[in-house]
């Protein structure tokens, strides 16, 4: 069974059609990168998958459980309660971290497990300690977000998402707000997660990283998937647009 299934997704903002007819399937343990020029709809696709945007048409399901389905060309969503359950399947890492500034690093990580999943405080702290250790942030446990570098903040936000033990983690341009040095430390963390077969869907502009980490790369442009395949296939693509786009980065 596919962990994530999106079928014939359409999304329009006012007069602008951002997603034209997108279908995407992701299996458990797969790492999928979504690349493409700005305005191609990558982020919107991610926001539809994480239910931050509602689709106009199309289907969305996690592990066979339908969050939205198509009725007469329009998306119909499940009840709020069902959506909350389905929402537990995924986590999302934002471009600009969105840590809670009034919470310490530890509290940022343990608060959702405690107040959303009703995990005991001891268990939540245990999880947080393990994650902080793994992400090399143990000494920052009691710091506040403003005291951290961008790279550290992004790693905390990854830990915050992982603390809820999601089945799939989405990344929305996780390094776009970081300088090259800090980018490296965040990408390293994502690579480690990939080694552990964490299912991940990553919208990124880091071509080399996408090539190294992905099982599959999806190239989007103009609201459609232009090409999709293994990194080798994409980087050897015959498609002129794909070649042009990747060429700019790889040289």
């Amino acid at each position: 069974m596919n962990l994530l299934e999106m079928k014939h997704v359409k999304k329009t903002f006012d007069d602008l059609t951002v997603l034209k007819d997108i279908s995407l399937e992701v299996k458990e343990g797969e790492v999928v990168s979504v690349i493409g020029p700005s305005g191609s709809g990558k982020s919107t696709l991610l926001r539809c998958a994480t239910m931050l945007e509602t689709m106009d048409a199309g289907e969305l399901s996690y592990l066979g459980q339908k969050a939205a389905w198509d009725e007469n060309g329009k998306s119909v969503y499940a009840t709020k309660k069902e959506l909350r359950e389905i929402g537990k399947n995924f986590g999302l890492v934002f471009q600009n971290f969105n840590l809670f500034p009034h919470y310490s690093v530890l509290k940022n990580i343990i608060d959702a497990p405690i107040s959303v999943d009703h995990v005991s405080k001891e268990e939540a702290i245990k999880r947080a300690d393990a994650l902080l250790e793994k992400l090399g942030l143990s000494d920052k446990k009691n710091a506040y977000p403003y005291q951290l570098s961008g790279g550290q903040q992004q790693r905390v936000s990854i830990a915050r998402a992982l603390a809820l033990q999601p089945k799939v983690l989405f990344f929305d341009e996780p390094t776009s707000a970081l300088d090259p040095e800090l980018t490296g430390e965040v990408l390293k963390v994502i690579k480690e997660l990939a080694k552990e077969h964490m299912t991940m869907i990553i919208v990124t502009h880091e071509m080399q990283f996408a090539k190294e980490v992905s099982d599959r790369i999806v190239f989007m442009e103009g609201g459609v998937i232009v090409e999709e395949g293994t990194p080798q296939q994409i980087f050897a693509s015959e498609n002129i647009r794909v070649r042009e786009f990747i060429g700019k980065f790889v040289g």
Binding site: L52, N98, F100, H102, V116, D117, P145, Y146, L164
Partner: protein, 217 residues
């Protein structure tokens, strides 16, 4: 009149002023939150109603509002009101007036919190109520403290308007003594009392601001 008598009379008035001040804050601070919710509501009728309410509260003198609240039960509903209603009318008028101002301050604070905070909370599974009280409100409070301090200090001085419906707060008494003794002394003393009162208020607000300095954002 001996200075000590004068001070004790003014002191009694001061207690009433402090009473008006504290009760107004007690009611208008939470009421302001409801006002801001109404003002930001997606329901057009509710939003328009709250907008009109804010316009009236901000657009007419508080002194006039005090008079209206005090006399409305009699002239509109033909109800006899007891003597204690004077004080109650003051609290009602002040509370609904200040709630309008606080409501707008809250709104500015709530709308200034980046959308990303709501989105992060949503994806983490927080309910809307949890998101507001745990994530948004603490950040809002930090941001709105300076304008809230402004309003609070204005409120201290506005308590003197209660004289218009003959509630014997400090300024009312100061004026009475001043007229009787043909001296500006009571008014000057009242001025000093207001200043000290506000000094304490500003001190407390500064303390709260300092307590919120542990985070930025």
């Amino acid at each position: 009149m001996a200075l000590s008598t004068m001070l004790s009379l003014l002191g009694k008035g001061m207690i009433t002023s402090v009473g008006i001040f504290l009760l107004t804050l007690l009611f208008s601070l939470p009421l302001g939150l409801l006002v801001s919710f109404g003002r930001m509501s997606t329901n057009v009728i509710l939003r328009t109603f709250v907008k009109v309410y804010i316009a009236v509260m901000r657009g007419t003198p508080l002194m006039l509002q005090l008079i209206v609240v005090y006399f409305a039960p009699y002239y509109v509903f033909h109800l006899k009101t007891s003597a204690s209603f004077r004080f109650i009318a003051v609290i009602i008028a002040f509370s609904i007036n200040y709630a309008a101002y606080f409501g707008e301050i809250y709104r500015s604070g709530i709308e200034s919190i980046p959308q990303g905070q709501h989105e992060a909370a949503k994806v983490l599974g927080y309910t809307k109520v949890q998101t507001f009280f745990k994530i948004i409100l603490p950040q809002v409070i930090k941001r709105i403290l300076p304008p809230v301090t402004n309003e609070t200090i204005t409120l201290v001085k506005d308590t003197s308007l209660a004289f218009v419906i003959a509630v014997s707060e400090m300024f009312t008494i100061a004026k009475q003594i001043s007229a009787k003794e043909t001296s500006v002394m009571p008014l000057m003393i009242a001025g000093i009392f207001y200043f000290i009162f506000n000094y304490v208020v500003a001190f407390v607000m500064e303390y709260i601001e300092k307590r919120m300095q542990y985070f930025k954002g």
